[in-house]
């Protein structure tokens, strides 16, 4: 392909790529600037590009009074617990679906996939009423539990794609040496797919970290996650945009870092393993 590109087409292609980058990255950049600009320049017309940067908004959201700091911790607790709880359910299921001739395998796989495309709001109201009735309203446990409806199907699909790549011959060699299936799984296969488990956990973490629908109705003031807590700024008179941006930037960082670090696996993660990147 490269060889037949003329200087003109090359220039055109670079032009398009730069335009795309400006369009898709520009607004993020502009929002980050909002978090560090003096409040009186936030809505200046024409827009102010150069200013004395200040960390005042971050100080306000994280330190004094720091309303968003405990919310960031809540986000972290919920997302981490969600991922940890999901692994013992999803990894064995993925192994079974990858390795054994299970009846109705395709239906089971599609059932999981269907759950990932289910409307979250359809579940919110029953979960909200249930949580209130059984005294789990506002608890981490309830949030972590219902998030499994997303993370387990996601992890089963993604993990299966990693386990599919481990040559069956390795397992057969262990079998011939007399190992039983659970030993093969625990001592041969899982150690090999450890990178896959890490990648799966990372993307499942992003899934849980970014989920807002469940914490929106299931968290309390003290367990509110970062995006839900940030919504609170809109309820107070006189929207404080610098604080919103600062809190939002904090919410953006972990997913961005994970996507950039695990760049190689992004396509696979986003398509639950159905497209190899």
């Amino acid at each position: 392909m490269v060889g037949e590109n003329t200087a003109l087409t090359r220039a055109l292609l670079y032009g398009c790529a730069l335009l795309a980058l400006a369009f898709f990255i520009g607004p993020i950049f502009w929002f980050v600037l909002l978090a560090i600009r003096p409040p009186d320049t936030a809505f200046a017309m024409p827009p102010v590009l150069f200013f004395e940067p200040t960390l005042a908004a971050f100080r306000h959201t994280l330190v004094n009074p720091g309303v968003n700091a405990p919310q960031a911790v809540n986000s972290l607790v919920v997302a981490l617990c969600t991922v940890l709880l999901n692994l013992p359910f999803s990894v064995p299921a993925a192994y079974a679906l990858s390795r054994f001739p299970i009846r109705a395998k395709k239906h089971i796989m599609l059932w999981y996939l269907g759950l990932l495309m289910a409307p979250p709001v359809a579940f919110l109201i029953p979960y909200f009423v249930l949580a209130t009735q059984i005294g789990l309203a506002g608890s981490y446990l309830m949030m972590v539990l219902v998030m499994q409806t997303l993370t387990i199907p996601f992890s089963v699909w993604l993990m299966k794609s990693f386990i599919d790549e481990v040559p069956v011959e390795l397992e057969e060699a262990a079998r011939i040496d007399g190992a039983r299936w659970h030993q093969v799984m625990l001592r041969v296969t899982l150690p090999i797919v450890r990178p896959g488990i890490i990648v799966t956990s990372m993307f499942a973490f992003v899934f849980a970290w970014n989920n807002t629908a469940f914490p929106l109705v299931l968290s309390s003031r003290s367990t509110a996650t970062l995006p839900v807590g940030t919504l609170g700024y809109f309820a107070t008179a006189g929207v404080t945009w610098n604080y919103i941006a600062a809190a939002a930037v904090i919410a953006m960082i972990p997913p961005m870092v994970i996507f950039l670090v695990f760049d190689r696996y992004v396509v696979r993660g986003l398509t639950f393993g159905s497209v190899k990147g």
């Binding site: 398009c16 990255i25 827009p47 299921a93 395709k106 269907g114 759950l115 659970h182 992004v266 986003l270």
Partner: protein, 309 residues
Amino acid sequence: MPSDIAVAAAARRVKPARARVGVLPYALLLPSVLLLGTLIAYPLAFALTNSFRFWNLAVSPEPMMGVGFDNYAMILDSPDFLRALLNTVMLTVAGTAVEFALGFAIALVLSSALPGMSAARALLILPTTIAPIVVGFLYRYMYDPSGGLAVFILHTIGLPPPAEGLLGSANTALISVLFADVWQWTPFVAIILYAGLLSVPQEVLEAARLDGASRWTMVWRIKLPLIRQTALIVVMLRFMQLFNTFDLVLVLTRGGPGTATRTLGYSLYELGMVQYNIGMASAMTWIIVILVNIFIGIFFYIAFKGREL
């Protein structure tokens, strides 16, 4: 322990690997199926029973009385629901189409494999990593009538936005919501289609070129058909996520002005979590669940028919 393995090996002759797996696969599968089954069955059963009852949480903590199919009838009759359905269909169809077209174009640019394109690809995914609700914050700022960047740009290029603001006018609100979604998810489409394009064998492209195929022919007759499977998965995911749109609307417009940006997802949220009308919300849940299942069924049939999973 190795000694276990040695003993087991000595004790019996090993059968071919596939034999004698017994119930193990099902035992491995069962915990996840049970947990998920419970987590799904409960809300569905809850919604089904309460869809036949009058129950407003603001009035009573317990269901009040049976009303037959009244809740369903009221929803299907209400102009708000029909408007929400129409908005959702418009948002879903337009969003999927625009994101696919734009995403495919970007994927083609990226697949030119010029130096620097892989860095562009890595950065381009950033909007997709952001929580939709945070994208909502971002675009409320961009659209702010008193000084949003989008408003400034529109003025500059001679397309002044309505005085009520982009989100405040019934003419522009839905398009503005759509725009935010397109901004967030086009990179997602682009990057997945780009991965698909990479898997198109070079020999095929080379052969087509030798046969004198134009760039245009190569794109439509060779590249797109060869990445059909990937394209179907992307379209399916975007279609369903757009159909379920809720967070973005919650932050940007709360369904307004009037009912201009009400989506099915947002209507349901409002009915249940703002008006606390559990009976009607339950009926609406089932209407939406049925619609979603029809779409998923169609997509699964097209995308996975005759394919091993």
